[in-house]
Amino acid sequence: MLSELSAIIESLVFTAESALSTDRICDLLTEYSREEIRSALAELEEYHQLRNGGFELAAVAGGWQFRTRPVFQPFVTRQIKAKSSKFSQSSLETLAIIAYRQPITRAEIEHLRGVDCGGVLKSLLEKRLVRILGKKDIPGRPLIYGTTKEFLEIFGLKDLKSLPTLKEIQALDEAPQYERQDELPLGQELLIPVESDLPFE
């Protein structure tokens, strides 16, 4: 079992942005002497060496840091691909334009956004969020874009009709309609929704 000071130091090293030096730990824990901190650190180091866990306390770059043990690297690297990617603002904007204004050409999207969208459009096509619907019957026969089934799946939409309209989002800033209130069912049983209704897998 760890001493309290060792546990406190453990929580500091665990949450630090980078390797935490002994000096820094002493600065943070002014109520403890340097001697106490040194011996707690020694205890912590030995504890993690002996426990043979998935990670250990490493002395790196003049400080302390928790790192996975090298033998487990083959396992750890398996989850690299699992890192979720966030949407850039330009992808999101372009996708929103296509979703709400489909069928739409690249020139029309670029007119709205005021910037070139070639790269963004390509990445949306690659991610299968957007597809080519056909060619528009105007000079140059530009491609027309629309959203895909995968788009609906990612946003958890039943169909395109379920996309919230702008009005509905804007309505969040507006006052409610009181007339509607009386029509609601009251005193209905208060149950936590059953598993199948839960909004996540």
Binding site: T15, I97, A175
Partner: protein, 267 residues
Amino acid sequence: MSRSGSSHQAGENVPLLDGLHEQYSVHLDTFDGPMDLLLHLIKKNELDIYDISIAVITRQYLDYIKLMKDLNLEVAGEFLVMAATLLHIKSRQLLPLDDPEDAEDEEADPRAELVRRLLEYQQYKDAGTLFGARALLGREVFTRAVTEPFLAAAQNEEGPLEVSLFELVDAFRLLLARIPAETFHDVAPGDSLSIADCINEILALLQEKETIQFDDLVSDELTRERVIVTFLALLELCRLKLIRVFQGEQHGSIWFVPAVAPNLAEV
């Protein structure tokens, strides 16, 4: 809990208003709407929630609203709605019951609905307090800040997308706010069916089916508006050369198919 409680309160009539100023000047902005205020008044007067003295509560409630007005605070509409509800209940209590059987019917108590709402509200208010008392991530508890150095280097590959529907709509809203109005007008007004919606619907259907019949599109909702909008949507889709239309015989069913195969070589 007994009636003596409420009559005791009624006797405290005079010092009540003095207390009001003292009490509410502190708590004024902490009432989260009329339900919150009512619960506070019930608690303060130590009333039994199942047997509220409407007379006491209504008077104190109206005093509070008057105080808000005296302090030049804007009284939100919902506070006035509740005031009307309280006065309505009070007036109904004053009326004699025509039918003696109503007296046994619990629902005949004009307060029943309000009590039910208050009890329900109180549950959620308490649930909220419990939520707030939990050890929150980023406030009381923390996760590891550093990613594994060798992982960070390799994490260029993209995984599943993470974005919410709200972000999508909000991005569109902000974009529209940015561009001048005349560039572009909103084609989806309110609840009424728009051609754009209808086009989207048809396009979505064509992703699943090879052919669609006109009748299938309007069968769920056979209204004049629906038929016209569907028809206009089809015309627009024809114009864009996205669909081809067929008719087997005169006055026969109208069929349409996608004009292009789903997997285009251009992709």
